[in-house]
Each structure stands twice: as structure tokens, then as C-alpha cells.
Symmetry: C14
Subunit: 95 residues, 14 copies
Amino acid sequence: MTDLGIIAAVSIFTAGLTVSFGAIGPALGEGRAAATALTAIAQQPDAASTISRTLFVSLAMIESTAIYCFVVAMILIFANPFWTAAVEAAQAAGN
Amino acid sequence: MTDLGIIAAVSIFTAGLTVSFGAIGPALGEGRAAATALTAIAQQPDAASTISRTLFVSLAMIESTAIYCFVVAMILIFANPFWTAAVEAAQAAGN
Amino acid sequence: MTDLGIIAAVSIFTAGLTVSFGAIGPALGEGRAAATALTAIAQQPDAASTISRTLFVSLAMIESTAIYCFVVAMILIFANPFWTAAVEAAQAAGN
Amino acid sequence: MTDLGIIAAVSIFTAGLTVSFGAIGPALGEGRAAATALTAIAQQPDAASTISRTLFVSLAMIESTAIYCFVVAMILIFANPFWTAAVEAAQAAGN
Amino acid sequence: MTDLGIIAAVSIFTAGLTVSFGAIGPALGEGRAAATALTAIAQQPDAASTISRTLFVSLAMIESTAIYCFVVAMILIFANPFWTAAVEAAQAAGN
Amino acid sequence: MTDLGIIAAVSIFTAGLTVSFGAIGPALGEGRAAATALTAIAQQPDAASTISRTLFVSLAMIESTAIYCFVVAMILIFANPFWTAAVEAAQAAGN
Amino acid sequence: MTDLGIIAAVSIFTAGLTVSFGAIGPALGEGRAAATALTAIAQQPDAASTISRTLFVSLAMIESTAIYCFVVAMILIFANPFWTAAVEAAQAAGN
Amino acid sequence: MTDLGIIAAVSIFTAGLTVSFGAIGPALGEGRAAATALTAIAQQPDAASTISRTLFVSLAMIESTAIYCFVVAMILIFANPFWTAAVEAAQAAGN
Amino acid sequence: MTDLGIIAAVSIFTAGLTVSFGAIGPALGEGRAAATALTAIAQQPDAASTISRTLFVSLAMIESTAIYCFVVAMILIFANPFWTAAVEAAQAAGN
Amino acid sequence: MTDLGIIAAVSIFTAGLTVSFGAIGPALGEGRAAATALTAIAQQPDAASTISRTLFVSLAMIESTAIYCFVVAMILIFANPFWTAAVEAAQAAGN
Amino acid sequence: MTDLGIIAAVSIFTAGLTVSFGAIGPALGEGRAAATALTAIAQQPDAASTISRTLFVSLAMIESTAIYCFVVAMILIFANPFWTAAVEAAQAAGN
Amino acid sequence: MTDLGIIAAVSIFTAGLTVSFGAIGPALGEGRAAATALTAIAQQPDAASTISRTLFVSLAMIESTAIYCFVVAMILIFANPFWTAAVEAAQAAGN
Amino acid sequence: MTDLGIIAAVSIFTAGLTVSFGAIGPALGEGRAAATALTAIAQQPDAASTISRTLFVSLAMIESTAIYCFVVAMILIFANPFWTAAVEAAQAAGN
Amino acid sequence: MTDLGIIAAVSIFTAGLTVSFGAIGPALGEGRAAATALTAIAQQPDAASTISRTLFVSLAMIESTAIYCFVVAMILIFANPFWTAAVEAAQAAGN
């Protein structure tokens, strides 16, 4: 059952690592984009709607990289093909 | 019972790591966004409502990456599928 | 009793790590937000109440990531499900 | 079955690492590009359409490096040629 | 007695690590907040009371993360549930 | 079969590492180039076509280093000469 | 006597680590606060007393995190409960 | 066959490392050069041809260091003298 | 005598580490404070006495963290309670 | 044949490391020099020839450090005296 | 004689580490203080004597942390109490 | 022959490390010096000859540290006294 | 003779480490001080003699930390008391 | 002969490390000093001779730390007292 244990441990660790490191870049990038959006609105209140629209598109694009990480973490925890294969192998052979 | 111990230890460590590293990016990003919001309000008090609204949307978006991390940590501690499987396996076989 | 020892050691280490690393981001982010709030008040004393309100909402939002970490650390020390399971297992089997 | 376990563990770890580290650069780069786009619109609202078009082309180009990483991670999890070969070898020889 | 030793060693190390790393963020954040407060007072002496009040609220909020760390360190040294459990286990069984 | 396993594991890890680290530099570099392009267009809208052309040539040049990394990762996964040789050696000798 | 040695070694190492790393943040933060205080006095000599008072309150607050570290280090060296327990255990059983 | 495996593994790892780390410097350097070129064109549109020519010569020079890395990686994968020698040695002696 | 050796080695290493790392923060912080004091005197020579007094109080406060480190290092070398206990234990039992 | 394998592995790894790390400094340095050259031409178009000449001499000088690295990497791969000696020793003695 | 060797090796390594790391902070801090002193003299030549006096006091204070490190290194090399004890122990018992 | 192998491996690794790390500092330093030289020429074309002369003397001085590294690397590869001694020792004694 | 080897190896490594790391801080600090001295002379040529004198005193003070490191390295190579003791011990007992 | 090998390997590695790390600080420091010298000459051509003289004295002072490193590396390669002692010991006793 050693293989099962290793795969489980690595999956758990990787899921946490993925989602936590994957949060650093997007959070900083979004913070920067939002910060300049706020400065821009204060500077040019008339263009607020254009700025907001551009900001939301940009935030969505940046957020997408965080979502990639969250998706990969969820796959590793709940739909991990290696774990499935290892469980089946362990059931087939009483190894 | 070695596998159980490893999975438990890795889950505990990963949960803490995920939530603590996952707090760095959002906290800095939100700090930056909030800082410019305050500067912007001081500079253009008339646009305070637009700035506040944009700020809260941005904070929510940035906070979402921290919440991903918190969710993954909670899953690892209280709803860990690998732990469940390992406990069942340990009960089935007195391994 | 080895598993119990490992789980205890990892829980202790992770609790400390979580709360200490989880303090870095929020403290810096709050410091930044507070700093600009002070600058903004000095620059526009008339908007002090708006600035204060926005500051406290932002600080609460940033503080939330530190509180996630503190909660996880407290759970790991005082309500650790893996520890409970390991203690029960150790009592059941004199392993 | 040791080889299978190692390959599975390395694939899982690498997939998470790839997608999380691969998110840092693009997220920061896009955040910077979006930030200046917002400043630019506030400064020259008449050129908003040109700026938006250039911004989206640039974001797509930067996003492409994040997508490379996501593709490689997906290949490693769901279409890993080394895993396939190792599984076949393990089935052929009861090694 | 090995488990006792490991738990003790990890508790000692973690307590020190927690309080020392947990001091970095708050100290820098408070330094920054205090620095801008001083600049703000020099720039707008009339608003000194508002600035001082906002500064002290902010310092208290930032200090809270340092206090979380100190509390966790004190719990680990003087009220460590894992240590208590391990001592009891060691007394019960002359293991 | 140990050699096969090592080569497979190293290839998988290296492919992910290559494409994820190889994304950091180009993404940041392109973000910077795009950012100044947007500033430049806002500052001198009449030169937008010259700026766009120079930007796209520069982005292509920077993107080339990311593509080198993607190519190497693809070669390592799908056309790895060392893996081919090791598989042939393993088939020839039942080692 | 192995446990005693480990606990002693870890206590010594942790005490030094705690006080030295715990000095970095406060020293930099106090340096920053003091630096702006000096600039502020030079800029607004009339507000020197207000600035000094605010500076000393801030320095005391920042210094508190360094003092937490010093206190923990002193506890680890001179009033270490784990050491006391280990010494008693070693005396009781000639282990 | 151990030597063959080590050489193959090291070659694979080094090829990926070389091309990915070798992409960081040139990508950042080219991004900086391109960024100032765009600023320069916006500032002095009349000198666009001189600026473009100088930019392309500089990009080629910077790109050369990335190409050195790509060449070394290709040599390590497809024309590795150590691998050739090790394969011949392995064929000569059935070691 | 192994325990004695470990304790001695750890004490020596920690003493050096403590005093050398503990010198980084205070030295940089004092350098910053002194630097602004000099700028402030050049800018407002009439306030030189107030600035000097504030500077010396601040330097003393910052220096205190370096002195904590020096004190801990001296205690570890010349008045180490763990070393004393270990020497006594070694003399009592010819272990 | 162990020595041959070690030398081959170290040579391969070092060659890649040398050329990839050796590319970081020159690429950044050349990027900086080229960037200021472009700014300088935009600022003083009349001095373009002097600036170009100085730029190319500087680029050549900076590039020289990258070429040192490339030369060392090539020597390590294709003209490695240690490898030659080890091969001869391995041929002389069937070690 | 193993203990003697370990203590000697650790003392040597620590002495070098202490004095070299202990030189980084003071050197940078003194460089900064001296730099602003020079700027200040150039800006206000009439206050040169006040600036020089303040500079030398500050340099002495910063230098003190470097001297702590040098003193500790000298103690470790020439007046190491642990070494003395270990030598005596080794002479007493021919261990 | 183990010693020969170790010395060869260390010499190869060190040669590459020396020349690649030794290229970082000089390349960055020269890039900075060249950059300011170009700015200076653009600002004061009349002083171009003085600036060029000073630049070349400075570049030569900075380059000297890179050449020290290249010389040491060449000595380690082609004129390594330790290798010579080890080869002679290996020939004298068939060790 | 093992102890002699360890002490020699550690002394050699530490001597190099000490002098190379000890060169980083002073070189950067002196570079900064010299840089501002040059700016200061260009800005106020009349105060050149005062600036030069202050510069040389400062350089001497900063250089002192580099000299501490050089002295310690020389002591470790040519007047190492631990080496002397170990050599005498090795001669006395043919250990 | 193990000791000889260790000493040789450590000497080689340390020599390279010393000279390569020892080149970083001086190269950056000299680059900075030279850069400001060029700016200063462009700003005040009349003071070129004073600036040049001060620059060369400063460069010599900074270069001295690089030369310390080069001297130590040369001593370690060509005049290493530990190597001499180890060779003599190896010749005396056929150890």
C-alpha cells in the first residue's frame, strides 16, 4: 500500500501548493490593476465607465490564471486519475 | 498504520501552508488597492461613491484567491477524500 | 506510538508556521493602507470621515486573511481531527 | 510497482508546480499592462479604442505563456505518455 | 521517551520561530504607518488629533497579528495539549 | 526497469519546470513592453502605427524565448531520444 | 540522555534565532519611523513636541515585538518547562 | 546500465534548466530595451528609423545569449558526446 | 560525551549566528536614521540640537535590539545553563 | 566506470548551468545599456553616431562575459581534459 | 577525539561566518550615512562641522555592531571556553 | 581512483560556477556605467571625449574582476596543481 | 587523521567564504559613498577638499569591516590555533 | 589518501567560490561609482580632473576587496599550507 500512500501525500501537498502559490501572482496583479483603475477614476471621473469595463475584462483575464490553479487543485483532490489507477491496481492485486 | 500517519501529517502541514502562503498575495494586493482608493478619495472627494464601489468589487475579486486557499485548507482538514479512503482501507484490512 | 508523535510534531510546527507567515502579508498590507489613509487625511482633512470608514472596511478585509490563518492554527492545536482519530486508533489497538 | 508510483507522484507534483509557477509571471505582466492601459485611457480618453485593442492583443500574447503551462499540466495529468508506457509495461510483465 | 523529546524540541523551535518571524511583518508595517503619521503631522499640524487617533487604531490592528503569534508561542510553551497528552501517555505506559 | 523510471520521472519534472520557469521572464518582459507601448500611444496618438509595429516585432522576439522553452518541453515529453534509447535497451535485454 | 541533549541544543539554537531574527523587523521599522520623524522636525520645527511624542509611542509599540522575542528567548534559556520536565524524567528514571 | 541512466537524466534536466533559466535574462533585457524604444519613438517620432535600427541590433545582441542556451540544450539532447561515448561503452562491454 | 559535544557546537554556532544576523537590522536602521538626521541638519541648521537629541534617543532604541543579541550570545558562550547542567551530568555519571 | 559517469554528469550539468546563469547578467546589462542609448538618441538625435559607437563598444565588452561562459561550456562538452584523462585511464586499466 | 574535531570545525566556521555576515549590515549602513553626509556638506557647507560630528558619532554607533561580531569571532578562535573544556576533558580521559 | 574522480568533478563544476557567477556582477556594473555614459554624452556632447576615456578606464577596471574569474576557471581546467598531484600519486601507486 | 582533514577542509572553506562575503557589503557601501562624493563635488566644487576628507575617513571606516574579514581569513589559513592543536595531538598520539 | 582528496576538492571549490562571489560586490560598487562620475563630468566639465582623481582613488579602494579575494584564491590553489601538510603526512606515513 506504499504507492497509494505516496500518491495521496503528493496529491494533498501539491493541491495546497498549487492553490496557494497560484494566488500570489493574480492577487498582486489584480491589486495593481485595481489600484491604477482607482487612480484613473479619480483623475478622469468622466471616463469611469470605460475604465470600469476595461478593468473588469483585465481582472477576469488575470483571475483566469488563479482559476487554472484552483481547477488543477480540485482535479488533484477529487478526480485524480493516478489515484484511481492506483486504487484499482491495489484492489486487483492484493499488493 | 504508517500510510495513515503520513497522510495526516501531510494534510496538516499542507493546510497550514496553503492558508498562510495564500494570505500573502491577497493581503498585499488588497493593501495596495485600498491605499490608492484612499488617495483617490482624498484627491477627488466627489467621486467617492464610484471609487468605493470599484474598490469593493476589486477587493472581492482579490479576496477570492484567499478564499480558494481557505476552502482547500478546510477540505484537506475536514473532508479529505484520501484520508477517508486510507481510514477505510485500514479498517478493512488490519494492515 | 510513532504516528501520534509525528502528527503532534507536525501540528505544532504547522500551527506556528501558519500564524507567523500569515502575519507578514496582512501586517504589511495594513501598514500600507493605514499609511496612505494618514497621508490622505493630512491632505484633505474635510474627507476624514469618508477616509476613515473606507480604511476600516479595508483593514477588516485584509485582517480577514490573518484571521483565516489564526483559525486554522487554533483548529490544528485544539480541534485537530487527525489527532483525534490517531488517539482513538492508539487507544483501540495498543499499537 | 515502484516505477508506477514514482511516475504518478512526479506527474502530480509537476502538474501543480507548472500551473502555479506559470501563473506568477503572466499575472504580474498582465496586471502591469492593464494598469498602464487604465492610466493611458484616463490620460487620453479619445484614444481609448486604440489602447483597448493594443491591450487585448498584448494580454492574449502574455496569457499564451500561462496557457502553455496549463496545457503541459493537463498533458501530464490526462495524456502522460510515460505513464501509459509504464502501465503497459506493468501489465505485460507482472513486475 | 523519544516522542516526548520530539514534541518538546518541535514546540521549542516553533515557539521561537513563530514569535520571531511574526515580528517582522508587524514591525515593518507599524514603522511605515508611524512614518507617514509623522510626515502627515508635520504637513498638517492642525489635524494632529485626527491623525493620532487613526494611527493608534491602525497600530492596534497591525499589532494584533503580532499578538496572535505571541499567543500561539505562549500556548506552545506553557499550555501545549500535545505535550500534555504525550506526558500522560508516557506516565500511563512506561513506554 | 529502474533506469526507465528515473528517465521518465526526470523528463516529466523537467518539462513542467522548463515551461513554468520559462514563462516568468517573457511574461514580465512582454508586460513591460506592452505597458510602455500603451503609455506611448496615449502620449503620441499620431505615432500609433509605428509604435504598434515596433511593439509586435518586440513581442515576437521576446515570445521566442518562451517558445524555445515550450519546444524543449514538448521534445522531452513526446520525442525524448533518451527515453527511446532506454525503452529499446529495456526491450532488447530483459533487464 | 539523548532527549536532554536534543532539547538543550534546540533551546539554545532557537533562543539565538529568535532574538536575532526578531531584531531585523523592529530595527528596520524603528529606523524608518525615526528617519521620518527627523525629516518632519526639520520641516516643521514648531511641531517638534507633537512629533516627538508620537514618535516615542510608535517606537514603544514597534519595540514591543522585539521584546516579545527577547522574552521568549529568555524563557527558553532560563525557564524552559520542557527542559525541567526532561531533567526530572531523567532523574526519576536513570534512563 | 546505471551510468547511462544517470547521464540521460542529467542531460534531460540540464537541457530544460538551461533553456528556461536562459530565457529569464534575455526576456527581461529585451523587454526593457523595447520599452524604452517605444517611449523614445513617442517622444521623438522623427528619429524612429534610427531608433528602430539601434533597437534591432541591440535585440539581436541580447537574443544571442538566449540562443547560446538553446544551442547548448539542443546539443545536450541530440548531439551529446558523453551519451554517445557511454552508449558505445555499454555496447562494447555488456556492462 | 556526545551530548556535551552537541551542546558546545550548537552554542558556538548559535552565538555567532545571533550576533551576526542581529547586526544586520540595527546597522541598516541606524544608517537610515543617521542619514536622514544629516539631511535634516543640512536643511534646517537651526534645529540641529533638537534633531541630534531625537537622533540619539532613536539610535539608542535601535541599538537595543543589537544589544539583546549580543547579550544572548554572551550568555550562550559564558553562562550557558544547558552546558553547566550537561557538564555536571557528565561528571556525576562517567557517561 | 563510475568515475566516467560522474565526470560526464557533472560536465553536462555544469555546461548548462554555466551558459544559462552566464546569460542573466549580460542580458540585463545589455538591456540597460541599450535602453539608455535609445533614450539618449531620442533626446539628442545629433549625437546619434557618437552614442551608437559608444553603445557598440560597451555591448561588446559586456557580451565578452557571456562569451567567456559559452567558451567554458563548449570546452566542458567537447574538449574536457578531465574526461579525456578518465577515458584513457578507463581504457588502460579495465577498471 | 571526535568531539574536539567537531568543536574546532564549528568554531572555525562560525568565526568566519560571524565576521563576514556581520560586515554586510554595518558596511551598507555606514555607506548610506556617509553618502548623505557628503550630500549634506555639498548642500550646506556652513554646517560642515556639525554634520561631521554627527556623522562620526553615527558611524561609531553603527561600527559597534561590526565590532560585536569581530569580538565574538576572536573569542571563538582564541578564548573559546567550550574548546578549553573539551581539551581538558580529552587530556583527563584518554578518550 | 575515487580521489581523481572527485577532484575532476569538483574542478569542472567549480570552473563553470566561477565563470558564470563571476559574469553577473561585472555585466551589471558595466551595463550601468555604459548606460550613464550614454546619458552623459546625450546631455553634454562637448565632453564626449572625456566621458569616453573615463568610461573605458572604468570598464577595464570592472572587467578585471570578470577576468580574475576567467583566469581561475582556466587554471582549474588546464593547470590544476591538485589534479597533477593526484594523477602522479595515482601513477606512482596503483591505487 | 580524520579530524585533521575536517579541520583543514573547514578552515579552507571558511577562509574563502569569509573574504568573499565580507567583500560584498564594503564594496557596495564604498561604491555608494564614492558615488555621492562625486555628485557632491560636481555640485559644489568649492567644498571639494572638505568632501574628499570626509570621504576618505568614511571609506577607511567602511574598509575596516572588510579588513576584519581578511584578517580572520589569514588567521584561519596561517595561524589557526585549532589546526596547531590538532597537528600536535596527531603527532603525540599516532592516532 | 581520502584526506588529500577532500582538501584538494574543498580548496578547488573554495577558490572558485571566493573569486566569483568576491567579484559581485566590487563590480557593482565600481559600476555605481563610475556611473556617477560620468554624470558628474557631464554636469560639471570644469571639475573633471578633481572628479577623475577622486574616482580613481575610490575605484582602487573598492578594487582592493576584489584583490583580497583573488589573493586568497591564489593562496588556496598554489600555496595552501593545509595541502602541504597533508602531502607531507601522506608521504611520511603511507596512509
